[in-house]
C-alpha cells in the first residue's frame, strides 16, 4: 500500500489509462502547462506531450463538443471542467449529443467520454460557484454519474469510467483534493454502480455520496457514544443507483436518513425516498428524513453559508428523529 492524495488518485487513474490506451486524451482549461487548476494533472504534460494533454481556451461549449465529436470517431476523451458550474456553458453538448448519440443512431455510434471536475460548495464563493448538478445529469438517460468520496474509490472508479463505453460524469471536490488515503500499489478498478458500506450499523441507515459524507461519519461518531449504531452507505454512483444496497440496508435497520449536498427540490434524495417507499415500504419504522443544502442560491456571507450547508448536527438530529428520540 501507499498513501496518496485525492488529486494524485485522479492523476494516477488518468495516467495509467493513458499509458494503456493511445486513444485517450485530456482536455480542459489549465490542465497542461499549469498542471491543472487544482494540480490533478501534475506531470501529465511532461509524460504525454501536448498532443494528448491539451490546454483549451475558455470555451466550454466548443471544447466539450469537440471532445464529444472525437469520441464519435475513435477517441476516448477526458474533459476536465475547472468546476461543474462552468460545464453549464457546454451542457448542450453533454445532454443533447453525448447522452443521445448511441440511441439516436440506432446503436451505430457511441460516445466513450468522461467529463470530470469539482462539484458542490467550496467555501465562500457565492451563488454561481457553489452548485451541485448530480441530479441534473442523473436525470438524463444515456449518462452515468459517479461521485466518489475518497482517494481509493476515486482512483478505481475513474479508471472504470475511462474504460466505460458510454459517457460518464465524474464529480470531485476542491475540498477533497488534499485528502490522503492508502491505496494499493498495483492496478485496481471499482465497478460503476456499486455502493459501498463505509460503516456497518444496526439502528439507522444513512445514505450519502461525495464529500458531504464526512458529516455523516462525524454524526455517527457522536451517536455511537450515545449507543446509537449507524450504517453509512456511500452510493459512489448515483446513476445507475445501487438500489439493492439501499434496500438491503434499510431492511436491516428499518430507518433511513439521506444526506445530500444539493438543493432539495427533485434531488437524488427525492428519488431514493420514492424508490424506498415503493419497494420496501413495509420495512420502514419511521418516515424517511433527508438533509440537503437550503432551497436557495448559495450565499457568500459566512454566517449564511453555514446555515445553507448541511452539517453533522443536522444528521444527528435527523437520526434521532427517525428513532423517535427527543
Amino acid at each position: 500500500m501507499k498513501t496518496i492524495q485525492f488529486r494524485e488518485a485522479i492523476c494516477e487513474a488518468m495516467s495509467e489509462e493513458m499509458r494503456r490506451d493511445e486513444s485517450i486524451f485530456l482536455i480542459g482549461e489549465e490542465v497542461a502547462e499549469y498542471n491543472g487548476a487544482y494540480k490533478a494533472s501534475k506531470g501529465m504534460l511532461d509524460e504525454f506531450g501536448e498532443k494528448r494533454v491539451i490546454d483549451s481556451p475558455i470555451a466550454e461549449l466548443g471544447f466539450t463538443g469537440i471532445a464529444v465529436g472525437s469520441a464519435m470517431n475513435g477517441n476516448r476523451p477526458i474533459v476536465e471542467f475547472m468546476t461543474f458550474n462552468f460545464a453549464l456553458v457546454g451542457i448542450d453538448q453533454i445532454i443533447n449529443n453525448a447522452a443521445k448519440i448511441r440511441q439516436m443512431s440506432g446503436g451505430q455510434l457511441n460516445c466513450p467520454i468522461v467529463f470530470r471536475g469539482p462539484t458542490g460548495s467550496a467555501g465562500q464563493l457565492g451563488a454561481t460557484h457553489s452548485q451541485a448538478f448530480e441530479n441534473w445529469f442523473a436525470n438524463t438517460p444515456g449518462l452515468k454519474v459517479v461521485i466518489p468520496s475518497n482517494p481509493y474509490d476515486a482512483k478505481g472508479l475513474l479508471k472504470a469510467a475511462i474504460r466505460d463505453d458510454d459517457p460518464v460524469i465524474f464529480m470531485e471536490s476542491e475540498q477533497m483534493y488534499g485528502d490522503k488515503m492508502e491505496v494499493p500499489e498495483g492496478e485496481y478498478l471499482i465497478p460503476i454502480g456499486v455502493a459501498d458500506i463505509k460503516r456497518e450499523g444496526t439502528d439507522v441507515t444513512i445514505v450519502s455520496f461525495g464529500k458531504i459524507i464526512k458529516e455523516a461519519y462525524k454524526a455517527a461518531d457522536v451517536l455511537e457514544k450515545e449507543g446509537i449504531s449507524c450504517e453509512i452507505l456511500d452510493m459512489r454512483t448515483v446513476r445507475p443507483m445501487d438500489w439493492e444496497a439501499i434496500f438491503t440496508s434499510v431492511k436491516k435497520t428499518n430507518r433511513l436518513v439521506i444526506l445530500e449536498e444539493a438543493w432539495p427540490f427533485a434531488s437524488i434524495s427525492s428519488e431514493i425516498t420514492f424508490q424506498v417507499q415503493e419497494n420496501i415500504f413495509d420495512h420502514l419504522d419511521a418516515p424517511i428524513r433527508r438533509i440537503t443544502t437550503a432551497d436557495t442560491p448559495a450565499p457568500y456571507s459566512p454566517v449564511l453559508l453555514e446555515e445553507w450547508l448541511p452539517n453533522f448536527n443536522d444528521v444527528v438530529k435527523a437520526v434521532k428523529d427517525v428513532m423517535y428520540i427527543k
Partner: protein, 330 residues
C-alpha cells in the same frame, strides 16, 4: 470630450491610488481570512477604469467580470459598502449575499460583478438593448478579459449587437493572461481587436497603461454608440501585477516581465505629469497619500464593525413573493 485639466490629473492620481490601496487592503484582509473565497485584484489595470470614467456620460452603464471591486467606487458607490460586502456583512452592497465576485449597484449604473467567464457579455448588450428600446441615451460599457474573448457568448453577442446597432462598447481588458494561459496560447493570432473585423465592427488596440489614451478611445466609441452607429470593440492592453487570484504561484511569467510593466505604471505616469506641469508639490502629494491611507482605514473599520446578516436573510431575496413556499432542508 472633456479636456484633460489640472483637476483631471489630480483626480486620476487620487482615485487610482485609492483603488490600488483599497485592493492592497483587501489582500491583507484575505490573508487574515476576513475576506474569503476567491479574490481577484485590479492592481496595474487602474488606467482602464480612470480613462473610461473620464469619457462616460451620466447615464452610461458598466458591467464587468469578477475583477470588480473598484469600478463601482469609480461610479460613486461608497467604498465602505464594498469592503463590507467582501467581509460578508449586512452593510455590504449585496447585504453579504454576493461577495468578492459579485458587486452590484444599479443605482450607480453598475450592473456587476459576474463570476462565469463570458457570462456578462450578452448581459451588457442586453442592457444596451433596453436603453435603445426605451429611447434612453445611455451607453453600456461591457468589460471582459482576454480569456473571455474565446467564449462563444462573445461571438454570438457581437453579431447581434452590430446587426441591431446596440449602444454598447465592448472592452477587452487584455492583461495578457487568463489565469496561467497567455493570450498567444489561446488563438491563431493574438490581436483580440481583430475579432471585430469579421463583424465589420469598428475596433482597435488601445494603450491601457495610459488613462489619456484610454479616455480618447472610449470617448470615440461611446459617442459612436450614442449616435446610433452601434458597438465598438476596444482591445485595451493592460497588465495585472498580482496573481490571477490569491492562490496563484505565477510560474507562467517572470518577475522581470512584471517589473517592466511597473515602469509604465499608470499611477506613476500621472504623477510624473503632475510634477512636470507643477500641478502640485511633493508635500501636497504626500498629503493626498495620507488622505488615501486614512480613507482605506475608514473602510476597514466600517466593514469590520458592521454586523453579519441575520440567518433569515437567506430566504429574503430569492423571490419577490414574500411567502414563497421554500422546501425545508434539515
Amino acid at each position: 470630450m472633456k479636456k484633460f485639466t489640472k483637476q483631471t490629473y489630480i483626480n486620476w492620481y487620487k482615485d487610482m491610488l485609492f483603488w490600488r490601496k483599497f485592493e492592497d487592503k483587501l489582500a491583507a484582509l484575505y490573508i487574515q481570512q476576513k475576506v474569503r473565497g476567491f479574490l481577484h485584484l485590479y492592481n496595474g489595470q487602474e488606467a482602464v477604469l480612470a480613462g473610461a470614467l473620464h469619457a462616460m456620460g451620466e447615464n452610461d452603464k458598466m458591467i464587468t467580470a469578477y475583477r470588480n471591486h473598484v469600478q463601482p467606487i469609480g461610479l460613486g458607490v461608497d467604498p465602505k459598502r464594498i469592503m463590507a460586502e467582501l467581509l460578508g456583512k449586512v452593510t455590504g452592497t449585496s447585504k453579504g449575499m454576493g461577495g468578492s465576485m459579485h458587486i452590484f449597484s444599479p443605482e450607480h449604473n453598475f450592473y456587476g460583478g459576474h463570476g462565469i467567464v463570458g457570462g456578462q457579455i450578452p448581459l451588457g448588450a442586453g442592457l444596451a438593448f433596453a436603453d435603445k428600446y426605451f429611447n434612453r441615451d445611455g451607453v453600456t460599457l461591457t468589460y471582459f478579459g482576454d480569456g473571455a474573448a474565446r467564449q462563444g457568448s462573445l461571438h454570438e453577442t457581437f453579431n447581434m449587437a452590430i446587426n441591431w446597432k446596440l449602444p454598447v462598447v465592448f472592452i477587452c481588458e487584455n492583461n495578457g493572461y487568463a489565469m496561467g494561459t497567455s493570450v498567444e496560447r489561446t488563438a491563431n493570432h493574438d490581436e483580440i481587436w481583430k475579432l471585430g473585423l469579421g463583424y465589420e465592427m469598428p475596433c482597435g488596440p488601445v494603450d491601457g497603461m495610459n488613462p489619456m489614451k484610454v479616455a480618447e478611445a472610449m470617448h470615440e466609441a461611446i459617442e459612436r454608440a450614442r449616435r446610433g452607429d452601434g458597438p465598438t470593440l476596444l482591445d485595451i492592453k493592460t497588465y495585472r501585477y498580482r496573481g490571477h487570484s490569491m492562490s496563484d504561484a505565477q510560474k507562467y511569467r517572470t518577475k522581470n516581465e512584471v517589473d517592466e510593466y511597473k515602469k509604465i505604471d499608470p499611477i506613476s505616469q500621472v504623477l510624473d505629469i503632475i510634477y512636470k506641469k507643477k500641478y502640485a508639490s511633493e508635500d501636497e502629494v504626500k498629503e493626498w497619500d495620507a488622505e488615501v491611507k486614512s480613507k482605506v482605514l475608514e473602510c476597514q473599520k466600517f466593514a469590520e464593525e458592521s454586523p453579519f446578516p441575520e440567518k433569515q436573510q437567506l430566504y429574503d431575496m430569492v423571490y419577490e413573493q414574500e411567502d414563497y413556499p421554500f422546501l425545508k432542508h434539515r
